[in-house]
């Protein structure tokens, strides 16, 4: 099972790549939309990058729940756990 801290760093990399913000500017509770200028296109870009990397499919109803890095980590962690079982 993937370590949560490793997962957090990997997802942080994805968000940094897409948003252009430095890793150290992305804190667990940074609001992705308001503080990192994540618009609709970037929200899709991040979702698709996560889906590709972890071979999962994020449900439509789960997308709006991702407000911060922590939200994304929890969601992916949960899905990977389910997949593992």
């Amino acid at each position: 099972m993937i370590d949560k801290k490793v997962l957090e760093n990997e997802i942080k990399e994805i968000i940094s790549d897409v948003s252009g913000y430095n890793l150290e500017e992305i804190k667990p509770n940074t609001n992705l939309i308001n503080e990192l200028e994540i618009d609709s296109i970037k929200a899709i870009e991040i979702t698709v990058a996560i889906e590709k990397k972890y071979k999962i499919s994020v449900r439509d109803e789960d997308v709006p729940k991702i407000v911060t890095l922590t939200d994304a980590v929890e969601l992916v962690y949960g899905m990977l756990n389910q997949k593992g079982n």
């Binding site: 970037k42 899709i44 698709v48 990058a49 997308v63 709006p64």
Partner: protein, 478 residues
């Protein structure tokens, strides 16, 4: 460190709207930037040309996303040209005409909902819900549209087939796809950024936009070279080093940004050897968008019309975008049964267009005048009786013309086809296998049309500036 004259921080290949916007931001941030454009004027598809006393817009004939807070308004205000431009707006911006309906898209959303609801009173609430969803600014509600088609979205809200088709027809007229094929994300963006917030026009013609951007770019210290074809992108150790122009002139640069066609960028300027097999396979399997056949008519002073000048009209003699798509793909324009047109604000000219397949140079050489005259006949038959009596100049651009002036693959009007599977593919915007290479414009899969191209130009400039600051800081620390 002082740079030599042939050394730049960034070179941009192509002075389309994406390249110009990107160039303005980078130059404004203090970078030394060169834009090389193969045509003799800036703009890409967004140009105008003169014939006698007439000025015609070559392809785009209005723009969107210019409300307070709209993307293009933000960009123009960032680079300080919003006050310089005299932008007029048609109201209604768009008008849909079918055998039984004439529905306006007004500048005011409530009026538009009212217009649709008067014709379909049972759907008043659903129309309102759908239209407000289309303009919802919450990024995550749009993310849900990534895998579905516009048809799926319409089916969710509406049951009336005619109403669904009426909403789908402008999209068919603009990008040549029926609702069952077009990505829900792109369909929603076209509605929110180009129809509900559309109809803007720079006084003087569309060429004013790229001209103003080019002048601003130069004012910020940028250098623009026209009639300057780029032959090669120089790469060393998987990192860009510059470009080679005609006569083997070498330009060195830290960043290279391609605002030209994707196939040209990867297969010609870089070359097959420099791109990965995976990306090559992806690139050659991608389907481009449809091209356009555009008609330019110059009219005499006696021409009168009850049609609203400046507004984009979408006429169809049926209610089936599926049927129309099947035929227009083959170049059967009669069975396509529709066209888009706009009478200029001063009533001196008409711009009319239809999606069209690329075919080839010989086909259009043989068929251009036949297609053009049949097109005029259909406008006369359905919309403007006696039109031909008032025509004093006529010409047309075929898909081959589109290719010839811009080198866009197969004369594609909107980059890659806007289907869900071709939406937002990061490798096109920032190819991971070559460092410091970026793409801007409609071939990135990130945005189409003027505001889409401008968005990608703005966004890429922002990423490059951030990356550049980071590298410079690192150098300072060392």
């Amino acid at each position: 460190m002082k740079m030599s004259s042939n050394e730049y921080d960034a070179v941009i290949i192509g002075a389309g709207i994406g390249g110009l916007v990107c160039g303005c931001y980078l130059a404004k941030a203090g970078m030394k930037v060169l834009i090389a454009e193969q045509h003799n004027k800036p703009g890409g598809y967004c140009t105008s040309f003169k014939r006698g006393n007439f000025t015609f817009d070559a392809a785009p004939h209005c723009f969107g996303s210019y409300r307070e807070g709209g993307m293009l308004r933000k960009i123009f205000s960032d680079i300080g040209i919003d006050k310089k431009l005299n932008v007029i707006r048609a109201n209604p911006s768009d008008i849909i005409i079918t055998p039984n309906y004439k529905i306006n898209i007004w500048n005011n959303m409530e009026e538009t909902i009212e217009d649709f609801s008067q014709h379909f009173p049972d759907y008043r609430d659903k129309i309102k819900q759908l239209f407000y969803l289309l303009v919802d600014t919450n990024p995550s509600s749009f993310s849900n549209f990534r895998n579905i088609t516009f048809r799926d979205l319409l089916n969710y809200y509406l049951k009336n087939e005619i109403l669904k088709e009426i909403i789908a027809l402008p999209l068919l007229a603009i990008i040549g796809l029926p609702s069952s094929k077009i990505s829900a994300f792109v369909g929603a963006k076209l509605y929110s950024e180009f129809l509900f917030d559309g109809g803007y026009y720079p006084a003087g013609g569309m060429q004013v936009l790229p001209d103003t951007l080019a002048m601003t770019f130069i004012k910020f210290g940028g250098e623009l070279r026209l009639s300057c074809l780029v032959n090669k992108i120089i790469v060393k150790d998987n990192k860009v080093k510059g470009i080679i122009l005609e006569k083997n002139e070498i330009i060195q640069s830290k960043y290279v940004i391609s605002n030209c066609d994707a196939r040209q960028t990867f297969l010609k300027l870089l070359g097959r050897k420099l791109i990965t097999d995976d990306f090559y396979n992806k690139l050659i399997s991608m389907i481009p968008s449809m091209s356009n056949f555009i008609l330019y008519l110059g009219l005499d002073k006696n021409f009168q019309t009850s049609l609203k000048t400046g507004s984009a009209h979408y006429f169809f003699n049926h209610y089936s975008s599926e049927f129309a798509y099947k035929f227009v793909k083959k170049g059967d324009f009669k069975k396509y049964g529709g066209f888009a047109f706009r009478v200029s604000h001063d009533k001196s000219s008409i711009y009319a267009g239809m999606p069209a397949p690329f075919k080839n140079k010989i086909f259009w050489g043989n068929n251009k005048y036949h297609v053009m005259n049949a097109f005029i006949d259909r406008i006369e038959k359905y919309i403007m009786p006696d039109l031909s009596k008032h025509i004093i100049y006529k010409d047309a651009a075929t898909p081959y013309t589109m290719y010839r002036y811009t080198l866009n693959y197969r004369g594609a009007a909107y980059g890659w086809l806007s289907v869900p599977s071709q939406l937002i593919i990061p490798e096109f915007k920032k190819p991971p296998f070559i460092k410091n290479l970026y793409m801007v414009g409609h071939w990135t899969t990130y945005g189409i049309g003027i505001s889409g191209a401008a968005y990608v130009g703005y966004d890429t400039a922002k990423l490059i500036s951030k990356n550049n600051d980071r590298q410079n800081n690192k150098n300072l620390i060392i």
